[in-house]
Symmetry: C2
Subunit: 252 residues, 2 copies
Amino acid sequence: MRVTFLGTGAAGGVPLYGCACPACRRAQAEPAFVRRPACVLIENGATRLLLDAGLMDLAERFPPASLSAILLTHYHPDHVQGLFHLRWGVGQAIPVFAPPDSAGCADLHKHPGVLSFQRAKKFVPLRLGSLTISPLPLIHSKPTWGYAVQNDEGERFAYLTDTLGLPDATERFLKTWGKFELALDCTFPPNSPPANHNDWHTALASINAVGPTRTWLTHIGHQFDHWLLQTAPAIPSGIRVARDGQVVMLGG
Amino acid sequence: MRVTFLGTGAAGGVPLYGCACPACRRAQAEPAFVRRPACVLIENGATRLLLDAGLMDLAERFPPASLSAILLTHYHPDHVQGLFHLRWGVGQAIPVFAPPDSAGCADLHKHPGVLSFQRAKKFVPLRLGSLTISPLPLIHSKPTWGYAVQNDEGERFAYLTDTLGLPDATERFLKTWGKFELALDCTFPPNSPPANHNDWHTALASINAVGPTRTWLTHIGHQFDHWLLQTAPAIPSGIRVARDGQVVMLGG
């Protein structure tokens, strides 16, 4: 299973529009440090899943029939805004899975176009191509799911954003799931006021609770990047800060 | 006054995702025929107004403090989707004018961020820098305004999309406004079923009714481009089909 971090940014991304902090200045100067809206592409054989759709160039990145399905964590604009354009397409429908949220975002449900919104249930596994995916409830300001993704070779990857901590039932699921790698919301630097996203400490607490083999921090805000730059903190082994474009081979 | 058509496309643009019609195939092959979400930049001295915000790369196109204001015709996603990203910026607020529509689009009003939504009234002129702008009601599926823009040299430009025909009061305003150039919604080819946008015939009728010196058709759908390609119709003098990137100098 191959995971590509197409975006690793919080809402507004890095650089944040109009911001002159060191992290934003660095990203303005060096494209390698830009963070676009958080999302990943998961590929396993011919199966290709896009988790979250905040990138605005989905039509260019994914020609028709190149995606098996789109899985949305939730309906905040920075996670779905790329669908506003794509939906008006024609041809083969694209299955879209998302947590139950009748409000959706703007008129996506009213005018789904080429998108085919599907029903799913938390903790009830979906089979999409060669992958099995379990939706895991998260703790956010809108109904939000993470996704536990597994192939038939037993490679496992959990994508958990946006969230502040984890519900007990999600923790229990992950503790008994077997060996897995994790991508986790870490929007803010340590000791940030609680705001529907992990900071460094709450992210570490969740990691310790569920014990992944390796963790990729994502949904990074400019303040977190600034903190990393300023303090160069010791990062526990097994934890990495993801970057846009980063490719992770599971079982590799 | 200088008008730049940054985008001239209907929702979904040209090429439409997944479409293989001759117009979409041409746009896939030749970037000059791509149509992005309809919007114009109006520049007059140091005053720079963006009319509609459906382009997704506003942060790259317009560095902080480079726009005097944004004027929205209405809150459909293809006219506002670029604001979802921009709003999380910091620093100087960007004034945004729009027709009264408490629903807005998604959570733009709830979390305006760096955007400063302003009140305005139909037919009551706004003064923005060196320009005077009168909001003109249009006929669409959401509260929608066109904008009649005038500089102190008497150059006049009316931007009227999205609309199917024109309200009587808007027609009366334009008939007595003086000489002006016009950008007008022409989404569909002739004899299309009415769908909240002009087709070729209703666009011509509005042009004849209000008598601009020159008209630029915009908010073009792929079916209209296809019709132009297929039939090469005679286009009355004084009417042009706008293209992305086209620059119009008024009074030139």
